[in-house]
């Protein structure tokens, strides 16, 4: 497995509380991504980063924010968690987005339950 870790791996929280998920890489890859995986929806991109302090929105960014202050860390924050954000969250990294170096490597996932 590529050097990608996610923390926590499991979390149960209550509606309205803030939650931060962390993705850490040791590969020095430029691109980092946050996805959520839901039955019937597959993987949907939440936010991504193309460098330190450079981020952009994905398909389902409402209710989420991200930060990347270091190459190796990409944080996903749910400002006020809702039950619709119960999901499995995956982080991914890639060296580039073209030219054969665009393979995305995925973390192990974080299972988040919002009660």
């Amino acid at each position: 497995d590529a050097g990608i870790t996610q923390s926590p791996r499991h979390k149960v929280t209550e509606t309205g509380t803030p939650v931060t998920l962390r993705c850490h890489q040791t590969e020095n890859h430029r691109y980092m991504y946050w996805y959520r995986q839901d039955p019937g929806h597959g993987l949907r991109l939440i936010h991504y980063s193309y460098g330190v302090k450079d981020t952009d929105k994905g398909e389902v960014s409402d209710g989420y924010s991200v930060s990347r202050s270091k190459t190796e860390d990409f944080l996903l924050t749910l400002e006020s968690a809702t039950s619709s954000q119960t999901s499995v969250y995956f982080c991914a990294i890639s060296e580039s987005t073209r030219g054969g170096r665009d393979t995305q490597y995925f973390g192990p996932g974080t299972r988040l339950t919002v009660l």
């Binding site: 929806h41 597959g42 991504y48 987005t97 665009d102 490597y105 192990p108």
Partner: protein, 107 residues
């Protein structure tokens, strides 16, 4: 809009049978397409990409621009092929995934 469609949520076959997981796409331009796989209790990982035109674990996929398809095929399924399969295409800096097809291979 760029889109990837996997019409089958579940595909069940017996060991030794041929397998075809369907993927259709809509994309303006020349698409770069991929198949990713998630085995039970493992991370999502790249299976193959259309540019390399290689066969991985006996799977192949041919890009058909006329039918806008990128179906994944294997002539003889094995039990260890049971997994979740996602078709994806690159759109600028992002991957767009389909909703996935679960392949079950029975002994």
């Amino acid at each position: 809009a760029q889109r990837v469609t996997q019409p089958e949520k579940l595909l069940s076959v017996f060991k030794g049978a041929p397998v075809e997981l369907k993927c259709n796409y809509s994309y303006s331009g020349s698409p770069e397409l991929f198949w990713y796989v998630q085995y039970s209790r493992q991370r999502l990982q790249l299976l193959l990409r259309h540019i390399s035109r290689e066969s991985i674990k006996g799977f192949t996929a041919d890009l058909n621009k006329g039918e806008t398809s990128f179906h994944l095929k294997k002539p003889f399924a094995q039990e260890e092929d049971s997994a979740m399969y996602y078709c994806a295409l690159i759109n600028t800096d992002k991957l767009i995934f389909g909703t996935g097809t679960r392949l079950q291979v029975f002994p």
